[in-house]
């Protein structure tokens, strides 16, 4: 469709009074020969919007709204089928610059130029739609998986439930009673796991495969083709999305020799204790007698840097439950609980209280130093944390409260292992072979550990975080998944109790349903929900450098044998990191591309060297730095008149061609503002700012080649809540560039 651009200049909110509006209008009508350029006192008001609406009706399909920030009045300037380009004259110009000043006017004109260029070059995205299979596959038939399956089915979705064991029910099926999850929170509660299993089996929307292992999953959200081996037979079917509820395993107690495990059969784990309670008979394994004194050792191998550094969060309450059950079964038996901290949050405090009220349950804050097997009873030795000194406790039975280890697979490491193995198998000589051999040796333990078997270039399973949990790193977005359409839930995601597991199963099921709804419309999932643009690859110019496949945080792109990218667009989150990575600039979105942003940069007027008006370019993350800039505007914090800001989807989407083009055009300095990287990264696309840090090292090389000062390009990472800091960075950068002097390439 032919582009029909119109420009609207708002005079409201101080804009009209501060700027030379005629000169601004001349940019549109003169420089760019835009026939339709209108001014209005309040564009966002009814009359202003009506003005635009009428033009849209008569054929305008790309509007430039020069008014306030793109973060405000979103609805007011959204018209069906029309590309809207916002030019921020309010927060970015008149609220932060001297009114009636030549430099302020130059700034406003530059922003308008950039806006018009975008309006001319960008296009309204057309959705990429695929046929979506609405089936949700749940992997794991424990409490999390059962809940996910039932909840997904209850919305009408077909469900496939895959369980590796012969029966459904997971760990919970083995427990006699659970922690109380409702009022009065005081007594161990019967579990309803059998009921859940029965419900799943009775639900004809749920197809259950037990004794099943996944052999392969190929595809993308809406179109995952699964090969399953169940009871010796392989079968194939298609699903739309996946909930991974593969649960946990107990920490290996054989590593807990220092707590007596292995030395005496009377030292058991909390899981063994559950089995005993389920049998309904308390016996000492060594002689079959009923124990009179049971010592529970909390944090056995947990909160311990030599074992599991984390807390499993449930063992305290499990011990409270076991102690109360023991006391109910055998009132003459005493329970001694040796703990670091009793962790019974929320209403579970009532449960703790209940146990404290029992005269046969004793609590001691202690660091257990050893469990000795001498004589008729075991001797537990501990340092008393409160009073100092030693505690010695005789016990017939010792129960180690061991923690939970996720049943996950480290997709990225498995990939590394497989790649290294391939090099070794090829056997070509060289340093690479040595390194590969070493990798194979180190990672051989991963062999055969795959769970989901995703046919993804970046590995067959979800990437894991610390301690092997394939969790989201975001507090705000617990189901942020680095593999779109695959959602971990329950104890594989984080240690949690059965109620938490249920809730997590429901949450993951919602995302599994949501991704199919969103994908069916060709929209992006969080955080760019609703975005219909997607990356297009001009593959005839691809050099198979594989940077896009490597750098995509979401594993969107596979490769063929030659290394040519094979995008799976339903996996894509539209961050543009691939676009930033591509040295050949062959990746573009309809409304965001190297060409569009590059042209915007080139449209900025660069004054001559002797005018002594430097020009700085700032590419900043639209998620955090840009809102901070808006807030600075709202607070009327003045920033340098030399700078020109362009928001980007993510700092990782910045293609370094923009930077070299800007420098060769005569920009004097370039500032890149992104989100925090590192362990506590805040980048919404996981590694955008980290990738930019790596790329900016290459930029420094480039600066050297051009004999330019390395200070001319600066990368800063800052959080959204620091507008003052942002302005400080901008102004300090401007001063520094003024000190260095003008870019010698100006005018060439």
């Amino acid at each position: 469709m032919e582009k029909n651009v119109a420009v609207y200049l708002c005079r409201g909110c101080d804009i009209g009074g501060a700027l030379d509006m005629d000169a601004l209008k001349a940019v549109a009508t003169g420089e760019f020969k835009i026939a339709l350029c209108k001014e209005h006192d309040c564009l966002c008001g009814d009359a202003g919007r009506e003005l635009i609406r009428q033009d849209v009706q008569s054929g305008v399909n790309s509007i430039v709204v020069a008014a306030c920030s793109q973060r405000f009045m979103v609805d007011a300037f959204t018209f069906d089928g029309v590309l809207t380009t916002r030019v921020n004259l309010r927060e970015q110009v008149v609220w932060t610059q001297e009114p009636g000043n030549e430099d302020t006017d130059m700034m406003a004109r530059d922003y308008l130029r950039m806006g018009i260029v975008r309006a001319q070059k960008a296009n309204v995205p057309e959705p990429f739609q695929v046929e979506v299979d609405r089936t949700v596959m749940v992997v794991g038939g424990g409490i999390t998986g059962l809940t996910a399956a039932l909840d997904a089915a209850a919305t009408g979705s077909p469900v496939v439930l895959v369980e590796k064991e012969a029966e459904l029910g997971g760990w919970m099926k083995k427990w006699a009673k659970g922690i109380p999850h409702g009022p009065s929170y005081r007594e161990p509660q019967a579990t309803d796991i059998a009921d859940l299993v029965a419900q799943v089996q009775a639900d004809d929307r749920i197809k259950v495969h037990t004794g099943a292992l996944i052999e392969k999953i190929v595809g993308q959200p809406g179109q995952f083709d699964v090969t399953l081996k169940a009871n010796g037979n392989s079968g194939e079917f298609r699903v739309g999305s996946i909930v991974q509820a593969t649960g946990w395993k107990p920490y290996d107690a054989s590593k807990l020799g220092h707590l007596g495990y292995g030395a005496s059969p009377d030292v058991i784990t909390n899981v063994q204790m559950e089995e005993m309670l389920a049998k309904g008979r308390l016996t000492r394994p060594s002689d079959g007698n009923a124990p009179k004194r049971i010592a529970f050792i909390q944090c056995a191998g947990s909160r311990d840097q030599n074992h599991l550094p984390y807390c499993s969060g449930v063992c305290c309450r499990v011990t409270l439950k076991q102690a109360l059950m023991v006391r109910a079964m055998s009132p003459e038996t005493e329970a001694y609980i040796l703990y670091k901290d009793i962790r019974s949050p929320g209403q579970y405090e009532d449960f703790y209280k209940r146990a404290q009220e029992d005269p046969g349950i004793f609590f001691a804050k202690a660091e257990v130093t050893g469990v000795l097997n001498g004589g008729p009873a075991l001797r537990v030795e501990a340092d008393d944390s409160l009073l100092g000194g030693k505690i010695q406790l005789e016990a017939d039975l010792v129960v180690l409260a061991t923690g939970m280890v996720p049943r996950s697979a480290d997709g990225e490491m498995i990939r590394k292992y497989v790649d290294a193995k391939r090099i070794v198998e090829k056997g070509e000589a060289g340093a690479q072979l040595e390194a590969a051999r070493k990798t194979v040796e180190e990672l051989s333990g991963l062999e055969g550990g795959e769970i989901l078997q995703l046919a993804y270039r970046q590995g067959p399973d979800l990437p894991v975080l610390k301690y092997d949990f394939p969790d989201s790193h975001f507090i705000c977005f617990p189901y942020e998944s680095r593999r779109t359409g695959v959602y971990p839930a329950g104890c594989v995601r984080a240690p949690m109790d059965s109620q938490g597991s249920r809730e997590d199963g429901s949450g993951a099921a919602l995302k599994a349903i949501q991704v199919l709804e969103v994908t069916s419309k060709g929209e992006a999932m969080h955080p760019r929900w609703g975005d219909m643009s997607y990356p297009e690859f001009a593959l005839q110019r691809c050099t198979q450098c594989k940077r896009c496949t490597e750098e995509c945080p979401f594993g969107t792109i596979n490769e063929d044998a030659k290394g040519t990218p094979q995008p799976n667009l339903s996996r894509c989150r539209r961050c543009g990191i691939c676009m930033g990575a591509c040295p050949e600039r062959i990746i573009s979105f309809k409304d965001y591309s190297p060409e569009i942003v590059g042209s915007m940069i080139k449209s900025v007027e660069i004054p001559e060297e002797f005018d002594e008006k430097p020009r700085l370019l700032c590419l900043l993350c639209e998620n955090d730095a840009y809102p901070a800039l808006d807030t600075a505007g709202l607070k009327r914090l003045k920033h340098s008149r030399w700078i020109r800001f362009i928001p980007v989807r993510c700092l990782g989407s910045v293609n370094i061609v923009w930077i070299s083009d800007a420098l060769s055009r005569g920009f004097d300095g370039i500032l890149l503002l992104g989100c925090k990287s590192g362990d506590d990264y805040q980048c919404h696309f996981i590694k955008g700012s980290e990738l930019m840090e790596t790329r900016s090292k290459n930029i420094q090389e480039k600066l050297k080649q051009l004999a330019l000062e390395e200070e001319r390009v600066r990368l800063e990472l800052l959080p959204i809540d620091q507008p003052e800091k942002l302005v400080e960075i901008v102004n300090a950068f401007a001063e520094q560039i003024e000190d260095i002097g003008m870019n010698p390439f100006k005018g060439f």
């Binding site: 008001g45 409160l386 975001f474 507090i475 977005f477 349903i513 709804e517 929900w529 003052e724």
Partner: protein, 423 residues
């Protein structure tokens, strides 16, 4: 019709982090949602927090994304300054009557701020817990959504006596005659995400809150440390604005206590450890004392505890604080704790005390629900409800941190979705 081939709406009560998440996740899954918030802005308690543990990242970062999801999703209707009066009907067919208080500022507001410049009246700034003040016409906070001004009806002098803002506004956005309205909403399911309030700590005997100005609570500490707060992020003593050489955090203030709140709020330990880090960043030499019963840092939050504990000027003292008294003339405080097990007494003089007070559930407030709502003995909304189609999410259900609220709210969104009827 809504997406996903379903018909009907979900009513979400509360626009804090749990309500926002429930509303957005349900809407992105295809449901129509009405989100009701009693304040003039979305974000609730998290908007008033400085940083989240354990990442030490600002809540506005996630809020920005969530608000963008709200702004761009036509399936979400937001009603601010609105509360639920009553709900009748049953699952699949609830009828809610909402009371919407006047904002006195309409949709024409551009947030230009011309009104503030002429407003002569002041009000205590509720967003900053009354630690500073704003004009009667104000923007709730810098990143507030809706990004429109509000007029505090109690503080405003009114059209007859003043009316200057009406003249100053070039857009006709101010309407001082605005009246409360009643809004009727039909919904297939209701999610109560009403969150919590801090307790009135002046009730806690012996702890000196409300009596000694340098005894503050943890929510106040969040505002003191926030760059958008009354001190622009500078932590200082309320009595004299001085910095800190020492500070005590009193855990379980009014919590795990038979006399006040019997439950544990589950987040205060980590909140205090986080606040200890705020203190450390501003005062590298300050001594920090944490009086606790149990440090509750579940899951990988243990790492945060371990890392914070490594601070050699931070001392953990196991003991429940019995009494706080002021050292005459200095504004300093003496904290006395008793170890209930050992019977030993500990006293410590400090410059300032932060009471780690818990979360008191708001429940359903004044709303009348035909068929009733089940609460537990602490006032939290129970998981099992007499009416189908009624759910609680987040702290309305149990005291948990933000990550757990979001997890819960997402799951509850699915439960609500199940009550939409097939097309």
């Amino acid at each position: 019709m809504s997406g996903n081939g379903k018909r009907g709406k979900i009513l979400v009560v509360g626009g804090g982090i749990s309500g926002l998440t429930a509303a957005i996740e349900a809407a992105e899954a295809g449901a129509e949602v009405v989100l009701v918030e009693k304040e003039a802005f979305l974000g609730g308690r998290v908007a008033r927090s400085n940083l989240y543990f354990p990442k030490m990242c600002p809540p506005t970062c996630g809020l920005e994304i969530n608000l963008r999801r709200v702004k761009t999703n036509p399936r979400i209707r937001v009603l601010t300054q609105a509360t639920v009066e009553r709900i009748t009907g049953g699952p699949g067919a609830f009828k809610a009557t909402l009371r919407k208080s006047p904002r006195f500022v309409n949709e024409k507001c551009t947030a230009c701020g011309a009104c503030v410049e002429v407003c002569p009246a002041e009000r205590p700034n509720a967003f900053n817990l009354g630690l500073d003040s704003t004009r009667a016409v104000y923007l709730p906070f810098e990143m507030a959504y809706p990004a429109r001004f509000v007029i505090d009806g109690d503080a405003c002098l009114g059209a007859e006596k003043c009316g200057k803002c009406v003249e100053a506004c070039a857009y006709g956005a101010i309407d001082l005659a605005m009246k409360p309205e009643m809004v009727e909403v039909e919904a297939a399911a209701v999610i109560w995400a009403t969150g919590w309030d801090p307790p009135d700590a002046s009730r806690f005997e012996g702890l000196g809150f409300g009596r000694y100005s340098n005894v503050i609570n943890n929510v106040t500490m969040e505002r003191l440390a926030a760059p958008s707060g009354p001190t622009k992020g500078k932590i200082q003593r309320p009595s004299d604005g001085r910095g800190l050489e020492s500070i005590a955090f009193v855990q379980c203030a009014g919590s795990r206590d038979e006399n006040y709140y019997k439950y544990c709020s589950g987040v205060c330990c980590l909140a205090s450890l986080k606040q200890a880090r705020y203190v450390r960043e501003q005062f590298p030499e300050a001594r920090i004392f944490v009086f606790y019963i149990d440090i509750r840092a579940p899951g990988r939050l243990e790492d945060f505890f371990v890392a914070t504990k490594a601070d050699d000027k931070l001392t953990l003292i196991k003991g429940k604080v019995a009494r706080i008294t002021e050292v005459p003339g200095t504004g300093g405080l003496t904290v006395e704790a008793e170890d209930t097990l050992s019977g030993l007494k500990v006293t410590q003089d400090v410059d300032m005390v932060v009471l780690a007070t818990g979360m008191v559930p708001v429940g359903i407030g004044e709303a009348k629900v035909e068929g009733g709502i089940a609460l537990d003995e602490h006032g939290f909304i129970s998981i099992k409800q007499p009416l189908g189609g009624m759910f609680a999410a987040g702290v309305a259900k149990r005291p948990v941190d933000v990550a757990a609220c979001n997890r819960d709210a997402t799951g509850v969104a699915l439960k609500a979705l199940q009550h939409l009827s097939a097309e």
